[in-house]
């Protein structure tokens, strides 16, 4: 793998897409298909979550099988905020990011001492711990999860309307993508990718490899927390299912389908996977078989993912 660099036409494509996405709720409403606004919001939120994992996995080169812990923690923090009477998303969302980021900092600080498969396994084990901790707390609903009595408000505006939440998710995704795009081209982004490629060399050059990795891991956790908090608003529930290790697996699948280490890999993966699910589930109840075969095909024949067909990483 090499350094990520966006191609020239990617930027213009992004602007066109963004404009189209801005008009989507109006289009759907005029077609009497308001239901799909919620679905589109779900896609945006999962794009955000997958992108956060891509930061850790694709750019940082850390194969984490515990990303669901931060995604789920974000959802729970949002629900806990609301339970405590804090219903302003402008405060709750940053709190979710902070909480999930700190959790990632803690887990990362221990896990990053290990290498290879041990890292995969220890992140998985920590995520299981987080899962059991959340479902054991009776005040947080136990196995039932913690419901939100209603959606939050954003700067005073209610998010009860599906379109409002859609625009919030779209905004969050756009901002995160913009910042990540900058980050990957900045010194930090270059260094973390260089560490992924050759850790020993970067170490020898005097880079604080451990710290760089840890920061990257925590950043990924924080963004996942943001996605989780948004999802809790969409579904009205901070669910233990978000914390399960299969959720980590699903996010991993999205990133791989989209393209590991491509800025838009997470987004592409989330869109492809959720669209496939929505379409195929209508025709074939056992669509997981199709998905599994597709994944196998990708691993065996196109290990770089869908985004690789568009973007070109250069050395």
């Amino acid at each position: 793998m090499a350094f990520y660099r966006p191609t020239r036409w990617q930027r213009s494509l992004t602007i066109v897409l963004l404009t189209l996405l801005l008009g989507l709720p109006m289009l759907l409403n005029s077609l009497e298909q308001g239901f799909y606004i919620g679905f589109a919001t779900r896609v945006l939120i999962f794009s955000l979550a997958a992108t956060s994992l891509n930061l850790v996995l694709g750019f940082g080169g850390m194969v984490s099988l515990g990303h669901a812990a931060f995604f789920g923690a974000g959802a729970y923090i949002a629900a806990i905020c609301q339970q405590a009477g804090l219903s302003e998303a402008l405060l709750a969302l940053p709190l979710a990011m902070l909480g999930a980021g700190l959790l990632a900092l803690l887990i990362g600080a221990i896990s990053l001492r290990t290498r290879g498969v041990y890292f995969i396994m220890i992140t998985l084990a920590f995520a299981q711990m987080v899962y059991y901790l959340f479902i054991s707390a009776r005040a947080w609903g136990g196995d039932d999860g913690l419901p939100l009595s209603e959606r939050m408000r954003f700067a005073g505006f209610s998010l009860v309307d599906d379109a409002a939440l859609y625009y919030l998710a779209l905004g969050a995704l756009a901002v995160v993508m913009l910042l990540l795009g900058r980050l990957t081209e900045a010194r930090f982004g270059r260094s973390i990718q260089a560490i992924r490629e050759n850790e020993t060399r970067m170490e020898a050059l005097g880079y604080p490899v451990f710290t760089y990795r840890l920061v990257c891991f925590a950043l990924g956790g924080a963004v996942a927390g943001l996605a989780g908090a948004l999802l809790a608003n969409l579904t009205g529930l901070a669910s233990p299912a978000l914390l399960q290790w299969t959720q980590s697996g699903t996010l991993l699948v999205m990133v791989i389908i989209g393209g590991v280490g491509y800025l838009y890999g997470g987004v592409v993966g989330a869109v492809v996977l959720l669209l496939l699910e929505e379409v195929l589930l209508g025709y074939f109840a056992h669509w997981h078989i199709v998905l599994g075969l597709l994944l196998l095909a990708i691993v065996l024949f196109a290990p770089k993912g869908v985004a690789a067909l568009f973007g070109r990483p250069r050395g």
Binding site: V63, I110, R113, I122, L124, M129, G292, L296, V299
Partner: protein, 308 residues
């Protein structure tokens, strides 16, 4: 009190030995081929379904167990030849993904073939009740079927020990785990060794699934929770080490059982009611993960590292 402690110890042993059947195959595949197999739990599930289906068809638990284990071995062989051979050379990420895909396929395929409801598997009639043993002047009760599981588990553990520690194949396996290139250079056909180990692992999975079927439930998703435990076991024991897998299994089995049995009572005695009621189950369920993190912190390669 003796009854309680002895009964819980036997429960821990029974749980640990079943974990060992799963962990043994997993640790060898992991250690020798350097391949993460998330679908190991699916082999356990599919094996259990094979056993349950065969037992229903033959109306005999023992025939079902034999046929099911053989069926799982054949499935393992096919999987190894078609898929896993391609995966050994790939990076861990590809292995995680491909085997995750296998989990999805396996779960859904089982749902298609056997339906969404759990399958029924009953223990042999003769073992359905308790065994009564006179002990220190008291009568000691223990379910007969669980005793059988303990017996089979001990037998398999002994057999594996002889096989790995004393036989020529076992020597190759140990050599493969500690240094693969050197083993290949010595002219051992590693390719077929891999196949044999994988098939053996699949058969052990089915044995565990078939034995636990009557006790637990043969259902979709039964492999996932146990897979994580098996991973914890081999990380604690050291990847690639059979001895580590055995010790790790017994530690995890005992700690988990005793934790669940004793922690709530212990905490109730020391903490106020509400805090104890919340903390007890929470602590009991994360105990083994805490243990694993602790062991990794002091011995990053596990208790019995196999690699030189």
């Amino acid at each position: 009190m003796t009854q309680l402690i002895l009964e819980q110890a036997l429960n821990g042993l029974q749980f640990g030995l079943m974990l060992f059947l799963l962990a043994a195959g997993l640790t060898l595949v992991f250690g020798i081929m350097d391949c993460i197999n998330l679908a190991h739990g699916s082999l356990y599930m599919v094996g259990a379904y094979f056993v349950a289906a065969a037992a229903q068809a033959a109306d005999s638990f023992w025939i079902g167990l034999g046929v099911g284990v053989a069926g799982a071995a054949v499935l393992g062989l096919l999987l190894e030849l078609t898929l896993f051979r391609q995966l050994y050379r790939r990076d861990h990420l590809s292995q995680v993904l491909a085997t995750f895909a296998l989990i999805l396929i396996a779960n859904e395929a089982v749902r298609v073939i056997w339906g969404p409801a759990p399958l029924l598997l009953n223990p042999p009639e003769a073992l359905a009740g308790p065994v009564e043993l006179p002990l220190f002047g008291e009568t000691f009760f223990y379910p007969a079927y669980r005793l059988l599981i303990i017996g089979v588990g001990l037998a398999v553990a002994g057999l594996l020990y002889l096989l790995v520690a004393k036989s020529r194949v076992g020597m190759w396996v140990r050599a493969g785990a500690s240094n693969r290139e050197m083993t290949e250079a010595l002219g051992i056909n590693v390719r077929w060794l891999f196949t044999a180990v994988f098939v053996f692992g699949a058969a052990l999975c089915a044995l565990a699934g078939g034995l636990l079927g009557p006790l637990l439930a043969v259902q979709v998703g039964m492999g996932e929770s146990v897979l994580i435990l098996a991973f914890v076991v081999i990380i604690i024991g050291g990847i690639g080490s059979i001895r580590g897998a055995l010790v790790g299994s017994l530690i995890v089995g005992t700690v988990d059982t005793l934790g669940r049995a004793l922690l709530p009572t212990l905490l109730r005695a020391t903490l106020p009611g509400d805090a104890a009621a919340t903390l007890g189950p929470a602590l009991a369920s994360i105990l083994i993960y805490l243990l694993m993190a602790g062991i990794l912190f002091f011995k990053p390669q596990g208790l019995f590292p196999a690699r030189a």
